[in-house]
Amino acid sequence: MTRSIETPGTAPDGGQGERGGEHGFPFIARLLHWSTAVLVLALFAVGIAMTSLGTGRWAAALHTLHKTVGVFLFVLVALRLGYRVVARLRGRWARAAGGRVIHRVLYGLLLVVPLLGLAGVSDFGGRAIYGGIELPAIWPEGAGYADTLFRSHAVLAFLLVGLVTVHICLALDEYIRQPQRAEPAQAALGGAGNSSSLPGRDVS
């Protein structure tokens, strides 16, 4: 996740070992990063499929799945931010190419998009997810803004995915330009990858 780019050596800050191991990032940071990436991708795909289906049994199942995964992603991002604060990994963000800005926007979108989806669901009704859990309502039900909320959710989700691609490119750029010391490769890397996303439901 988020951690982005960075170069190993640079960051003195990394609290936990910055470069955990060979990668410069602790395993847990990498796990969080790549889980976020996978969840964002899954949510994006499910969101598109379910909006295409529109109505029906499958669509309902996908909606429920989307909501469930979205909640999971939201929690994950929150954990990640908490870990980041605790581990003080911030300093590893690359300074170049707007990496810091992109990262902040990504984190913001990862939090905002799921919240928008939840608000839409609250307005629209149907906060139930798998596991028999009812999501807390953060928006008055039937307020009539569901459509707008869902549309914003979708647009921001696409924007998030677009930023993820930018994030990938910038990370690769950083990685490629970094001097490959000793072991080529490694070095740098920051997190590129995917980024991710928040759980947002995409489109819907």
Partner: protein, 537 residues
């Protein structure tokens, strides 16, 4: 954050891009497929509903007839067919539709069958049944219309959402492709282009290339290779420059050497020329010298010979002078003796004069006798002639006589001859005697002269003796001088001989020098030609 196997090589990047674009395309395709399937469902629903509507409308005529017949209490025959037809249409509607519409159609069909069973009954019952049928038919229409409206609304929603999805996905795809292209341009195209430039113009972009060389992907490999190549290249260029510089130095040095060599050669050529000239001079001089020395030698030889001869002559002269001195002494004594002899001779001459007269007289007497003998011989001859003639006349008997006659004749001839000879001899004697007489007279004078001469000779001999003594002393001295001169001349001749030999050796040497100078010139010329040819080459 990248997994360790990911080195961001071009291949891996391309795989990543393919994966991303592929996922996007798959999502896009899935959305499109779902949309088209849904559209097909909508189309089917609309077709079913419109088919049901038209079936319903088809039954309008039959329905009117039934209503008119029931209401106007008219003829009810034939209604059963109409009712059956309507019921069949309801069944068809039920079969085509589903959900609420289908249920309503089935209900309507049931009501129609009930109505049909009551057709033979009373009018009131029939009217009740008809009312029910009418109500159900209207309900079916309403439901059908509602279903059509629902389908239309769902279709509209679907299209709108599909459009939104398509739009967003397309925008995302476009954005992704743009990103990929721009970043790959930055990662791949620009480095390659710059590397090509760096290859073309080494020296520039060195820092950039070394930055590139630190990359981990293929471009990094290329960059490292390029850096190595460029550094090799620059080293090689440096080396080439150095080599060129050293070569230029070498050329300059060689040029200098060549100039030196040429100057040297020219100098040598000059020297050789001078040497040749000198050698020629020397040769001619030594030739002249040699000639001269030959000449001198000759003359010296001649001089030596002459002086030797002079020495020997002087010796001889000295000897002769001594002899002369002896001779003079002898002469003096001889002169005295001569005087004596002359005196004796004078006496003898006088005696001879007397003898001469006697002799002349003797000759005269002999001559008279000879004349007599000659006359006898003539007469004898005549006699012999006569005898011969007589002998011839006598013939054979006179032959012997003839022989005696010829013998006498010969004797007479021979006597005449001898007489003649005697007479001639007598004449000569007479002449000689006369001459002797004359000569004796001369002799007397001569003897006198001899006497005087002998006296003067003796005198002279005495003087001469003195002189010759002086001469002898001078001559002895001269002989010594001449001998010394001869020795010196011989020495000079030896020196001249040495000199001549030296001159010959010198001439030989100068010839050698000449030859060597020529060889030197030839060598130098050849060398210069070679050098010139080499330089031209």
């Amino acid at each position: 954050m990248f997994p360790s196997f990911f080195k961001a090589t071009v291949r891996q990047r391309l795989t990543l891009w393919a994966l991303m674009v592929g996922i996007l395309a798959a999502l896009f395709g899935a959305a499109e497929v779902i949309g088209s399937v849904k559209l097909a469902g909508f189309a089917r629903a609309i077709a079913a509903h419109s088919g049901a509507t038209s079936l319903l409308s088809d039954t309008d005529a039959a329905y009117s007839r039934i209503v008119v017949a029931i209401v106007s209490e008219g003829d009810r025959r034939g209604l059963a067919d109409d009712v059956a037809g309507i019921a069949a249409a309801m069944d068809a509607v039920a079969a085509r539709t589903e959900g609420e519409v289908s249920a309503r159609a089935i209900e309507a069909a049931a009501a129609l069958r009930e109505f049909s069973s009551k057709l033979e009954g009373d009018t009131a019952t029939l009217r009740e049944a008809l009312r029910k049928v009418v109500a159900q038919r209207n309900e079916l229409r309403v439901v059908l219309n509602g279903a059509v409206a629902g389908v239309s609304e769902a279709l509209g929603t679907h299209i709108e959402s599909a459009r939104r999805n398509t739009l967003l996905l397309a925008a995302l795809g476009l954005f992704l492709v743009t990103l990929i292209i721009s970043f790959e341009h930055r990662w791949l195209v620009r480095p390659i282009a710059t590397m090509a430039t760096a290859l073309g113009a080494p020296g520039q972009d060195a820092a950039w290339v070394s930055k590139l060389a630190r990359r981990g992907d293929e471009i990094g490999t290329l960059g490292r290779a390029l850096r190595a190549h460029l550094s090799d290249e620059s080293e090689r260029r440096e080396a080439a420059r150095e080599r060129l510089a050293s070569l230029a130095e070498e050329v300059e040095r060689q040029e200098m050497w060549r100039a030196c060599g040429q100057a040297f050669q020219e100098q040598i050529a000059c020297i050789a020329t001078a040497l040749e000239t000198r050698a020629a001079h020397m040769t001619s001089a030594s030739n002249e010298l040699s000639q001269l020395s030959g000449f001198v030698d000759q003359h010296a030889g001649a001089a030596a010979l002459s002086s030797q001869r002079a020495a020997s002559h002087v010796d001889q002269m000295s000897l002769s002078l001594t002899e002369i001195a002896g001779l003079l002494a002898t002469t003096a004594s001889e002169a005295q003796r001569t005087t004596g002899i002359a005196d004796a001779a004078k006496t003898l001459v006088e005696e001879a004069t007397e003898d001469g007269v006697l002799l002349r007289e003797a000759v005269g007497s002999i001559s008279a006798i000879v004349t007599l003998i000659s006359t006898v011989a003539n007469q004898t001859n005549l006699l012999a002639l006569n005898a011969t003639i007589e002998a011839a006349r006598a013939g054979e008997s006179g032959r012997g006589f003839a022989v005696v006659a010829s013998e006498v004749k010969q004797l007479a001839n021979r006597t005449a001859e001898a007489t003649e000879q005697v007479r001639r001899g007598l004449d000569s004697i007479g002449t000689a005697a006369e001459r002797i007489t004359g000569r004796i007279g001369a002799l007397v004078a001569s003897v006198d002269a001899v006497e005087a001469a002998a006296g003067s000779i003796a005198e002279l001999a005495r003087k001469q003796d003195d002189t010759s003594r002086a001469i002898s002393a001078g001559t002895a001295q001269a002989a010594g001088d001449v001998r010394g001169t001869a020795e010196q001349v011989e020495q000079v001749a030896g020196m001249i001989e040495d000199w001549r030999q030296t001159t010959e050796r010198m001439a030989q040497a100068s010839l050698d020098i000449d030859g060597q100078a020529a060889a030197l010139r030839q060598a130098v010329d050849g060398f210069m030609n070679d050098t010139r040819a080499m330089r031209r080459a």
